[in-house]
Symmetry: C2
Amino acid sequence: MRQSKLFLKTYKEFPSYETSKNARFLIRAGFIDKLSAGIYNLLPLGFLVIEKIKKIIREELNLLGCQELLLANLHLKKYWQKTKRWDEFDVLFKIKGNLEEYALAPTHEEVIFPLIKKTVFSYKQLPLALYQINTKYRDELRAKSGLLRNREFIMKDLYSFHLNNEDLERFKKRVDEVYKKIFNRLDLKTIKTLASGGTFSKFSTEFQVPTESGEDSVYLCSNCNLAWNKEIIKKEKCENCNKDLEVYKTIEVGNTFNLGTKFSEIFEVFYLNNKNQKNIVWAGCYGIGITRVLGAIAEIYNDKNGLIWPESVSPFKVHIILLFSPNSQKNNYLFKIAENLYHKLCLYNIDTLFDDRTNVSNGEKLFESDLIGITYKIIIGERFLKSKKLELVSRKNGKIKELKINEIINFFKSKK
Amino acid sequence: MRQSKLFLKTYKEFPSYETSKNARFLIRAGFIDKLSAGIYNLLPLGFLVIEKIKKIIREELNLLGCQELLLANLHLKKYWQKTKRWDEFDVLFKIKGNLEEYALAPTHEEVIFPLIKKTVFSYKQLPLALYQINTKYRDELRAKSGLLRNREFIMKDLYSFHLNNEDLERFKKRVDEVYKKIFNRLDLKTIKTLASGGTFSKFSTEFQVPTESGEDSVYLCSNCNLAWNKEIIKKEKCENCNKDLEVYKTIEVGNTFNLGTKFSEIFEVFYLNNKNQKNIVWAGCYGIGITRVLGAIAEIYNDKNGLIWPESVSPFKVHIILLFSPNSQKNNYLFKIAENLYHKLCLYNIDTLFDDRTNVSNGEKLFESDLIGITYKIIIGERFLKSKKLELVSRKNGKIKELKINEIINFFKSKK
């Protein structure tokens, strides 16, 4: 993509109306736009990061044998009355339509259990794992943390259905492992944390990212590598080894839940076993907050100059920055070198943003590039005239390699 | 994908509660599930088709230089009051939240114009074309046509912004051409139709697919290749050549609209020209109903046995159907052949559904395969034992080619 064509507006200052680091950086760097409290538009750069997060999640869940679908977001009131959550789910958006009353989906148990009741009858159809990536809506009273707590957000929700609790617990363990892998690929160091299981089971599992601005608190035993959410902690020492627990402020980016038979009982979801006997279906649900992941990454990966994207989710793999020479006669030549490099990278399908703008100063280009935070930048300028080498710069640590054009191409080809 | 693992429930009968052909076929074949009037879940097969439609649209719009983003769906009341559409947009879902009142997006002018006001200032930033693929919500009183008129649906909406009306009209013509190309790739023969421009301009352009069950009527002059929507027709003869017009019932799958300066005036969207003078921004909007396209294809491409997917959007490219031999000793051998073929097709990234089920009769497998309607099927059975050839069958016309395994692989490789 040529930066001269990119729909991008960055700002010299942080937005005064935002207090959270993630929103301040993401708005200033042109990734998102605030529409109202807890509600944001994803601009092209933000959209690209979200697509990369989605791709990683899809790859890992599909490998696990999960199947993707898309559930509706307008749910008739009757489904939510059946679970009593029409009245009890405190952040539920309710809609009085012309003919019907609806809940605007904050989660999808009320839709997927009736679907399973209609479609699953036999033990031969189980286990079954279905997921979607969809917008969700929650009428949060407090929506002040940028992308960390929104009224409208993108979530991956997976639901699994099983013959019995043992099979469900086995699958939940596998999801826990896959989640670790997903968060590793997203460069998020998560603490796997025991939390309340709500009304469903004793414990749920949360994936918590330590950061000062987190709304959650996690108590970790570094000895046993076990952690507990503040809400269920009993003492400040490890239950196993009695070591003092370390406390972290954290952001919850994912959770895995054993729902037991709660919703299956309400919606009467049964299967016939191999003796033709009716049994209740056991179920789990597993969430990853996708816009929240975007927020968590922005919250953690930044410095005073801007964002620093992990390579796996960087909106582009590389940012070519063409700096003009004070000897203006050389500029056409430098432009040709940059064009040529851009075409070659595109040819090898390497996501490239090319700052081809001629009406912007070198200083502004470098400033904006740091703000956007693409993992690698290639700087083409004065120095090339002498050495015939380009500077490959890591946004993370500023490390510079001087490489010939074909060496640069090979560097990025080897990353595919 | 192995069919033994696929989340798929087909039905022997059409659903009694649906009158429209598209919903009757799509539900019976397990592509969608009806949640309530005008609201459907996309099951894995339906989801795959939608993803293919989206991919085609994205490829063509990106080629045209359009950029993708994702706009929020919860819009503060004040934006919709500003355009007077809070009261005048008759299918608007309104939400009374805890703290705010919202419109639930039926379209996005109320959000994108304020965004452009915040980000576009100079003639150098124009023209600009931004699109999204997002869920939309409209509280339709009459929602009886399956996927053709829904309360919740997926739409691609593109908005373009220009220096003047000439540039806007030029761009609109290019979108019209790109739309033709998109619908051709989707195997939808569309009639480009003049329709009312509403309060914005004299005419808009609609892309109408002729089919008996369509809700729209189009008058076509086959001589001049011009067409008019019923709503603007003045006489039953062509305005150009006086030939009698042909009338078609149609489904509108896309439209392109010159919005003029209407929304720019309301939201005060201006740019500075090269003389630093303030000018109003001209804008267009361009829609494609993605779930409606799914419905239109299902409505048109079917026969008494089921759906018949155009190759470009078939949920899988090919369906391997393993039929068991009456000589059961040969079945292990046939299974190995089928497995081998399946692995080879997967290796070449050819989307394959493999009916590997051992507990379903040959008749049921063939019946279900026709119902699902994947473009090609490969039948492995008795006949292979003698000829060492497989049957490659076109779902569309039943044409059979007998091919060796490597010939089949080459046939599909050549399609990549």
